[in-house]
Amino acid sequence: MKIEEHQNNNPSKPAQRKASDFKIRSNRLSEFAVQRDYDRCIKCEVCIKQCSFDVHYRDEEDDLIKHRPENCVGCHRCAVMCPTAAISITPNPAQYRAHGSWSGEHVKDINRQAETGGVVLTGSGNDKAAPVYWDRMLINASQVTNPSIDPLREPMELRTYIGAKPASVKVKDGKLASEMPPQIKIQMPILFSAISYGAISYNVQKAIAEAAEELGTLYNTGEGGLHPDFYKYKDNTIVQVASGRFGVHPDYLNAARMVEIKIGQGAKPGIGGHLAGEKVSESVSITRMIPMGTDAISPAPQHDIYSIEDLRMLIFALKEATNYRVPVSVKIAAVHNAAAIASGIVRAGADVVAIDGFRGGTGAAPKAIRDNVGLPIEFALAAVDQRLRDEGIRNQVTLISGGGIRCAADIVKAIALGADAVYIGTAALIAVGCTLCQKCYSGKCNWGIATQNPYLAKRVNSEIAKNRLVNLVQGWSHEIKEMLGGMGINSIESLKGSRSQLRGVGLTSEELDILGIRPAGM
């Protein structure tokens, strides 16, 4: 066959594609493939309108909807919204040559950096295949002795009190006679973790606040300040004080049930944060109290904290500023010496220690840090709880663990390992639509969650989102009750630190030692 024939076997079509059909970026292989079933496509352009990454476009000349797969982030918004199910997004079958050491991800990241010279950014939580230890722990249940309890028939207590507990109490005439440190009563051991307005949209933060209100639990503002409209949720609010001190003033501190000092975050231990100027909209600017369009920079350390003694100084500054009315929490990322650090935090006077594991989410973090720095929360939690018990100071704090809590069973395991309660963040965002595409930092979230673009943000209706969050937490609460009942326990208090309810599968003896549990079968 002659070459000319080969090149142009359809005389009605020109041999060469138009320039607009070509990839607009670089020599990277697309991460995703977009498949469009042209028999099903009705050219309604829903996909074009739904995609903020400019994947889909109408080619007027060919009168076809086409796509630029190299732009696709794999959020699946178009596929879900397509009325004729004509689109499917799959991992790009065209991959670099397989290599045991150099994964496609490594090759792509190198190309990204060769093109830009920058730090590879990502969002959401660590997606690497490090072992998830929750999946290697199994929960006990009663058989014959200590009969199991049916939570549908009998009372089952999930109520949790957040705050320091005294070593002893005095009771007089059947009433508590000791003065108690400030306590917050929540209806289940599940709190919404810190996600700032700025990282997420107004509607999503509103939904989370309203869900906390309806559920009788707490949500956390993150370090982005408190929007004036959200002061009305103060009975369910934790306000955060981080290195940027955005929107931190006496009204803010006193609008909360708890103040949390953010030292670190599981997704990016040891570094600060930069909310890109693009995401500092007028409303975010009002909340953070910084000018519109400027980078909101949270330095890596808090510049008034270089030691445990300095931390104590800030803890008590916050107690003074709130007239000792509310507990003060200190949140740290799970790192190698978490147990010793937590001990210092307790001795510094914190009422709550929050530990965030290395699977915790983020609006933006360097990928190198998200995927490589920190510890699995399971180990950090077990080590911290054990250390505080050994030192006889465990009662002085409430221990909240977060960073990779995916389901009710994870919560039961966390509490058996020693947590008083858990923070959920990523799970909450998934409940309102997040598909973990990890492009939170771009501000272009097609699901209307991690964006300040009004066109995208209105995709989340705060009432529907609130209902979904309430449903999720209620569902989990019911599951926790079922599992407690199965163990013959009728109160979450009785599960706390009860590691005998857990057994390990496929764990080394060292891992079992750190977790403080026995292997399955023993």
């Binding site: 990204r112 093109e115 109290m289 910084i290 000018p291 400027t294 500054a317």
Partner: protein, 258 residues
């Protein structure tokens, strides 16, 4: 109101919690001036006044301190004027929102850290990381005037506000000794009187000319400094000032690979 509008508290031997509770009670009961005698390192003076009286009354409140207040003087301060007849330690004006702190002496580290509003006047020298991460928002703009010189990291991460360094404690011909000035600065202004070499200044910081508005601001604050500390400021000339301002409000835009 039964209580005198001015009240004196002897701080000798009082733990900070007790002293601050007494100040809070006095303000709640209507005191407009609180004089503290024998202050010896008590922390957080002026921090706990939220909810005592209304905002306007808090802005009229004067706290006069004799002795040496401890760290975090006026932390989260939101209205009152604090005058210290002595030195102040670390963290004065930390995350201050509104009000005024006047110290007839020296100041420690992180003076004015993260302040969003209000005014600070320090008669003498100040320590490390002064004015670090100061901000501004809308009509809130903190202004800190320091009579002497400071140590390193002056105005680091500064996102707004004004820092004025008069350099009055430097000997004739002596240059400023602070390094890494304005590192990571992305807002606000530093006015520094006296010699400073480019290598002492962080990257991303420019040295623009003084504008007419700058001159007016400097003149007013220099005059106020002279009045507050009863100091002759006639020899302070505007042409001796170097202005430091960020080159970008987005210093980290180029750091990332998108």
């Amino acid at each position: 109101m039964s209580i005198a509008t001015s009240i004196e508290i002897d701080a000798a031997g009082l733990y900070y919690k007790e002293l601050n509770a007494q100040i809070r009670d006095a303000v709640s009961e209507g005191a407009l001036k609180v004089v503290l005698k024998n202050v010896t390192g008590q922390r957080y003076i002026g921090t706990n006044l939220y909810g005592t009286v209304d905002r306007d009354t808090l802005r009229k409140l004067e706290i006069e301190i004799h002795g040496t207040p401890g760290n975090d003087l006026g932390m989260f301060l939101d209205g009152p004027t604090i005058t210290v007849h002595g030195n102040v330690m670390d963290g004065s004006g930390n995350t201050m929102n509104h009000g005024r702190i006047v110290a007839h002496g020296r100041a420690g580290d992180i003076t004015g850290f993260s302040a969003r509003g209000g005014e600070m006047f320090i008669k003498g020298n100040a320590g490390y990381r002064v004015g670090i991460h100061m901000k501004e928002y809308g009509d809130m703009r903190p202004v800190m005037t320091i009579g002497g010189a400071t140590q390193d990291f002056l105005g680091e991460y500064m996102a707004g506000g004004v820092v004025i360094i008069l350099g009055l404690t430097l000997k004739p011909g002596e240059a400023h000794y602070c390094n890494h000035v304005g590192t990571g600065m992305h807002g606000g202004m530093i006015f520094l009187r006296g010699n400073i070499e480019p290598h002492q200044i962080g990257t991303g910081v420019g040295m623009p000319e003084l504008t007419d508005k700058d001159a007016e601001l400097l003149t007013n604050y220099i005059a106020e400094y002279g009045r507050l500390f009863d100091t002759d400021v006639s020899e302070i000339k505007l042409e001796d000032f170097t202005k430091l301002a960020p080159l970008s409000v987005r210093p980290y835009k180029q750091v990332y690979a998108y």
